[in-house]
Amino acid sequence: MNKAKEFIDRNLKGDPIIWAIVILLSIISILVVYSATGTLAYKYKGGNTETYIVKHAFLVFLSLGVMWAVHKIPYKTFGIIGKLLLFVSVPLLIFTYFFGSNINDANRWLTIPVIDQAFQPSDLAKLALIATLASFLAGKQRNIRDFKNTFIPVMIAVGVICGLIGIANMSTAVLLLVTCLLLMFIGRVPMRYTFLIVMVGMLALTAAVFFGQRGGTFVSRIENFISGEEIPYQAEQSYIAISTGGITGKGPGNSEQRNSLPHPYSDFIYAIIIEEYGLVGGGGVLLLYLALLYRGMRIVASSTKPFGGLLSAGLSFALVLQAMVNMAVAVGLGPITGLPLPLLSMGGTSLIFTGFSLGIILSVSRGDHEDAEAPIVEGNNRPRRAFQPA
């Protein structure tokens, strides 16, 4: 017992609660995906249900491995890596838009040659943008109100990336924009600038809606949701799953709606969780995400440097916001987005990127990567202070 504890102490550094939450969610993920892929296995694999679960479990463990590997890297590195990746992701997104593989009428996927694995460059761009933004805002804390030198570069980076993602995948773009705005709010960017970026963002998104591949789908989904007259098929099936789940659910593997609900293993996995594990299970999953966010927030308080805090906050919020949006869609609080539920949904490479961002959060939480630099306190008599508006 002690040896195990020693082993964990030695190898799993960082916040143990985060480790526990992630492992718990991974277990739930494997259970629910196994149940939810029954229909898929029937359709495409001649009823061989193991095919999907073996692949999914492998990816879950791989993402845990990535998380472990990443948490050993000093987080400061990610400021530089993030910036580099951001520059890489721009041409990658453009390339994907024109030459990527087409799934559901949108080019979101790019196949990496050699290993023949498709991934979404938007996942990479998202990670890169948050890391860059955190690093940039941390560096500019002393002249955070400088419109020209602080705000304009931020706006350009966010606008370009969100715009490029938006032409192929509007929901991800909007969510990323909101996450960035939240991060800017946390990073003390004045609110009135934020409103400006909202306006710019709206413009960019509108443009993307009209010129992009999935504009029609996006508009019709929003329209459907606002009018509320006709409940879409997916939503209806999802409500049935939720309401027939009851307080304690039908039990693991007993979902009925997985056969009629589209994408029960990704977009609507939360409905299946409630169907099988009831209100209790659904509430439990909500609490796990909130706990994850709370631990992420604790790191902000404990970190000695703004970069670490902002990085951890940005990534935690990005993850948890997406989770909230996904669950909101499943229960009918928002229009259908097609966003997977991070850590729970089946979904190839997204899992790896999730593991990557959790690894970064853990790396920040270790604390021992921090150098001994004194905390930056506002009011330090640095020369630039004078140029800041009062």
Binding site: Y42, L286, P306
Partner: protein
């Protein structure tokens, strides 16, 4: 407040917002469960559970010997959703798929198939019927392995739509009698008349929706199990039916007639062995079974001279005449009021006996006799019709039976001419089945049995209902009268209008009929010819009627048109039916076997030959082994089997084989065999070892 405190505060604000949002989600879940719960649960049940119909299997229809006349088989229509297949699957498979479709259906070129599928794919049409032809189960299985199709419904977009179809193994044989049933539950024949038994009862069962959009039965006490239909056993004999149809068809074609019917019935039981009905197609070319003239409404006609049998019955039964009595027919005309009765022969028959008058079918004689004896009491004559059961429908097992029509002496349309014309088969309407029933009764010694076509209804081995022969009249006339009538009918074939069907092997008795057709109220030069009778006359086994409507050409008389068809059918039945053919069977005699000679078996299957030899105690040896077919050689009073490689792909050596074995071997290789002689194969026209081309003809000499 320093930077860090500010950041921490802001993070907390954001956290609280997210927590509130999470609370909202939880509230919404609870709302869905507790407030809207019932609504969605009800919806769930209607979507995921359904009471669905479970179809009962329709019963089969069998012939008397157990041959299947009609059964239900699944057929499939091939439909494709061209949008389902992925681009690479589609591109890779479309060429070979179109080629296969084209060579399977043979109606459109491969390019045409390719174009129609591609067009549908481009235009977003999700349901393309590839061909309206329905395919069988085996073909469907083969087709599922074709490119694109092999990816299934969800990967390739192929849809095999199942259609339960009635299948008649004998195709059009007795097709109108076997009948059909359309979707509105209307139809004809046995299928329609016995639908209540055949259809069974559909069940209902609760089904749950499962993966792939299929439905799985959930076993439940509420289920109503389907009750499969009963099988119907008819009295039809496929061999007689076949003979009847082909004989009728040949005559119809040679006389270019409008339609014809044949009924063959077993005298003692009234079991119908064949009903054939052929009508000229609307196109004017060829004949097919479109209507059951033998039984149905449209088959009602003025019967003509076959009805004279009833007139004779009445006259004889009244005891008013003697068959050898002379009667003057004069110049072949006789005037009743304003109408002139004519005989077929120009100049008339002069003075003849009543028997001769019947044999020659003299209208003048019969009508004069009937008018003389019944003219003042037509009701008496009508009572004989009634006694013979001809005035009302039989109550036949098939629905849609035509009801006979007779005038009533009390009605205003009964004229002075009605009775004389009625006596020779005019001014009245009967179906061929009615007429046959009368002749059958005469053949049956006066006992009138009801014609029947279905003898039993059963499911599996359990008999549900058995239909026994129903006796309508124990005796339609005195024994003496019946004997005289039989004598008259035999006379028709021996000396009268049907002399052409007289033969030495067995006796036919019957009566010809030739009725002018009444069209739009006028008698025309078109005729309705018939022959009704039975055979063998000495011990009647079968009765039959042949009617042919509107034959073209000279000699449009019943004796020339219908009687030969009757004879052809009778000949075939006579030669096949052992029961009536007993006396002509030559006694089987063992050939003079030389017991001391070695029985020399030439060739055959080794296991059979070995068994035979061992039974007879003949020593035999087989050293080669393996090969199933052998030839024999004699080595020291024992037989040595030598392998005969008939299964090789080249032409086998069949010499020495019995014809049965040779046919088996050769036809399995796709050859067509003609042979002459008797015994074992002596010679074959294609040399052993030659390459075989399918469907080529090989002739064998036996001896």
């Amino acid at each position: 407040m320093n930077i860090k405190q500010s950041i921490v505060l802001r993070v907390r604000v954001a956290f609280i917002v997210v927590t509130l949002f999470a609370g909202l989600i939880f509230y919404r879940v609870a709302h869905l469960q507790f407030v809207e719960g019932e609504k969605w649960q009800a919806k769930s049940e209607s979507l995921n559970f359904q009471y669905r119909q479970v179809s009962a299997t329709r019963g089969n229809i069998y012939a008397a010997d157990g041959s299947l006349l009609s059964t239900s088989l699944p057929f499939y229509r091939v439909v494709i959703d061209p949008l389902v297949a992925k681009q690479e699957v589609f591109d890779k498979g479309i060429d070979s798929l179109s080629y296969l479709l084209s060579s399977f259906y043979r109606d459109k070129s491969a390019d045409a198939y390719k174009r129609s599928i591609k067009d549908a794919r481009v235009s977003g049409k999700r349901y393309l019927i590839l061909n309206r032809k329905q395919i069988g189960y085996q073909e469907m299985q083969a087709m599922s392995n074709w490119p694109i199709f092999r990816n299934g419904r969800l990967g390739g977009g192929v849809i095999f739509e199942k259609v339960e179809k009635r299948y008649r193994p004998f195709n059009n044989l007795a097709s109108r009698t076997v009948g059909f049933l359309n979707e509105d539950k209307y139809g004809v024949g046995v299928e329609y008349s016995f639908n209540e038994y055949l259809e069974g009862k559909n069940g209902k069962a609760l089904f749950q929706r499962i993966a792939g959009g299929s439905w799985k039965p959930v076993f439940d006490a509420e289920d109503v199990k389907p009750d499969d239909g009963f099988d119907v056993y008819t009295t039809l004999d496929v061999n007689i039916q076949d003979v009847a149809e082909s004989a009728l068809l040949r005559q119809l074609m040679s006389k270019d007639a409008e339609y014809g019917s044949v009924i063959v019935m077993e005298v003692a039981t009234g079991k119908i062995k064949a009903i054939a009905n052929l009508q000229k197609n609307k196109s004017g070319y060829g004949y097919s079974e479109n209507y059951n003239f033998a039984v149905g409404d449209q088959g009602l006609t003025e019967p003509g001279s076959t009805f004279k049998l009833l007139s004779m019955l009445a006259l004889l039964e009244e005891g008013k005449i003697n068959l050898n009595e002379k009667i003057e027919t004069g110049d072949g005309t006789f005037r009743f009021f304003d109408r002139t009765m004519r005989d077929a022969k120009q100049g008339g028959y002069g003075e003849i006996t009543i028997k001769e008058a019947f044999e020659k079918s003299s209208n003048v004689a019969v009508s004069r006799l009937v008018n003389e004896h019944f003219g003042h009491q037509p009701k008496k004559f009508m009572s004989y019709i009634e006694k013979a059961g001809l005035n009302q429908p039989i109550g036949f097992q098939l629905k849609g039976e035509g009801a006979p029509y007779f005038k009533n002496p009390d009605e205003r349309n009964w004229y002075g001419t009605t009775l004389p014309w009625m006596s020779i088969g005019y001014e009245t309407k009967l179906t061929p089945l009615h007429t046959l029933m009368l002749y059958n009764a005469v053949a049956n010694g006066g006992k009138m049995v009801k014609p029947m076509i279905v003898e039993g209804i059963a499911k599996a081995n359990k008999i549900e209902k058995r239909f026994d022969t129903e006796v309508l009249r124990k005796s339609i006339a005195s024994a003496k009268t019946i004997r005289q009538l039989q004598e008259l009918l035999e006379g028709v074939v021996e000396n009268g209008t049907a002399k052409n069907v007289h033969n030495k092997d067995y006796k036919i008795a019957g009566k010809t009929g030739t009725a002018q057709k009444l069209i739009d109220g006028r008698y025309t030069q078109r005729y309705y010819t018939s022959f009704a009778g039975y055979f063998p006359a000495d011990n009647p086994k079968y009765s039959a009627i042949v009617v042919i409507d509107s034959p073209k050409g000279f000699n449009a008389y019943g004796g020339d048109i219908s009687a030969p068809v009757f004879k052809e059918i009778a000949d075939k039945i006579y030669s096949q039916d052992l029961e009536i053919n007993v006396k002509s069977q030559p006694k089987f005699q063992f050939a003079n076997l030389k017991t001391d000679e070695f029985p020399y078996i030439q060739a055959g299957k080794v296991d059979e030959l070995q068994m035979l030899c061992n039974k007879f105690g003949i020593s035999n040896h087989y050293n080669d082994g393996g090969e199933a077919w052998v030839k024999s050689t004699v080595v020291n009073k024992a037989i040595q089997w030598k392998a005969n490689k008939v299964e090789a792909p080249t032409m086998p050596d069949v010499s020495g084989l019995s014809l049965r074995d040779a046919l088996y071997v050769l036809e399995n290789k796709g050859l067509r065999v003609v042979y002459q002689g008797k015994g074992r194969v002596k010679n074959q026209s294609i040399n052993p070892g030659a390459t075989i081309s399918q469907n080529s003809v090989i002739s064998l000499v036996l001896g």
